[in-house]
Symmetry: C2
Subunit: 238 residues, 2 copies
Amino acid sequence: MINQTHIASAFDRDLEAIQTQIMKMGGMVEAAIDDATRALLEGDTGLANATRRGDKVIDALEVTVNEEAARVIALRQPIATDLRTVLSVFRISAALERIGDYAKNIAKRTEILADLHPVDGGTASLKRMSKAVQIMLKDALDAYIQRDAALAYDVRARDEEVDQMYNGLFREYLTHMMEDPRNITACMHLHFMAKNIERMGDLVTGIAEQVIYLVDGELPDEDRTKADITSTAKGGMV
Amino acid sequence: MINQTHIASAFDRDLEAIQTQIMKMGGMVEAAIDDATRALLEGDTGLANATRRGDKVIDALEVTVNEEAARVIALRQPIATDLRTVLSVFRISAALERIGDYAKNIAKRTEILADLHPVDGGTASLKRMSKAVQIMLKDALDAYIQRDAALAYDVRARDEEVDQMYNGLFREYLTHMMEDPRNITACMHLHFMAKNIERMGDLVTGIAEQVIYLVDGELPDEDRTKADITSTAKGGMV
């Protein structure tokens, strides 16, 4: 058998280095969400364009993190909890990369919206939704570094609020479209943006669930109340 | 130095076992796309419900594949090309899992659509799009097993057709919504379903690009003509 105590410290050092990279990636993703949202709200196509281009750096960081994690598996041959910890790196970095993609998509649509018939309303809710997701992301990454399951459960619970904000926006955009057909194209894009933010919340929840898995050894029950009722129940269909 | 020839055969056997699991997973995902599409076109909510439930099996298979890949890294300590090959397993299984999620989402929306004002049209295009993606997926996995870069490039090229079909549907649904506001809610869901299929095409393209990376040692240029113009250029906005 391998002496677990002996290899633990080298493994821990390796893991810490990877976690630093993940925090860096997380910081960049947070900034991307913030930039994409500001670009949208302020109609700043320059910032939108910069956000799109910045996504390449996030993508490259994911590749680095994954290679680093593979190197640690090869070198340290972790088992049980340690293996689980390294495997969670792949999942968390993949989630961050996808959140970055959604921010990029919001930036793309901002550039399109600049040329469309402007739509009143919705922006305050979008801003609130985006802010909530940014704080969730920050807390999920803190929970990861601290191995704080309580904070991770809290993040997970807050995703319901994001889902509820999305439901509100879904209805709001439907109303705008029905009232004035000239709003339809712009509302379709705004709606996709709201959906992108809602999906970011789901991905952050996935990160929080990885933390719970690391701490408790099992994933929380899947049957969390899913509050995005627009794609799961009939109630949200107006 | 490690004797590469000696460990190669054991590594190859391990890899082959994992690839068999990926092919199994791919077959299930193909079936999920097919079932979700048939459920939508035939309004079969029972089949939709079965498709949703079936997604759990795909998710579980991804976990198994990842654990298996980690075990191979720990045991065989692959480097260079071999390491790249094992790391591609994480990416391909993640792509398959996400395609499965999109099929599940289509199934969810089918259950909702059953209670909404029915919309004429769009179904023939959705069916064609779904079929195209299923064949792309089959070919991408064949390309993976055969390490066939030419086939992978072909899959990648075909994604443009899927994007073009999506652009057509985007316009079609906008027209339906503008013509009759009673169509708006149903069209929003149909539009999301079309977008889900378009995203599946992107993920399959990602698998094909992994194959190209495995064979050629580098990813193809990112600047493939992106034919989903609805979120990237102004031309598709009608």
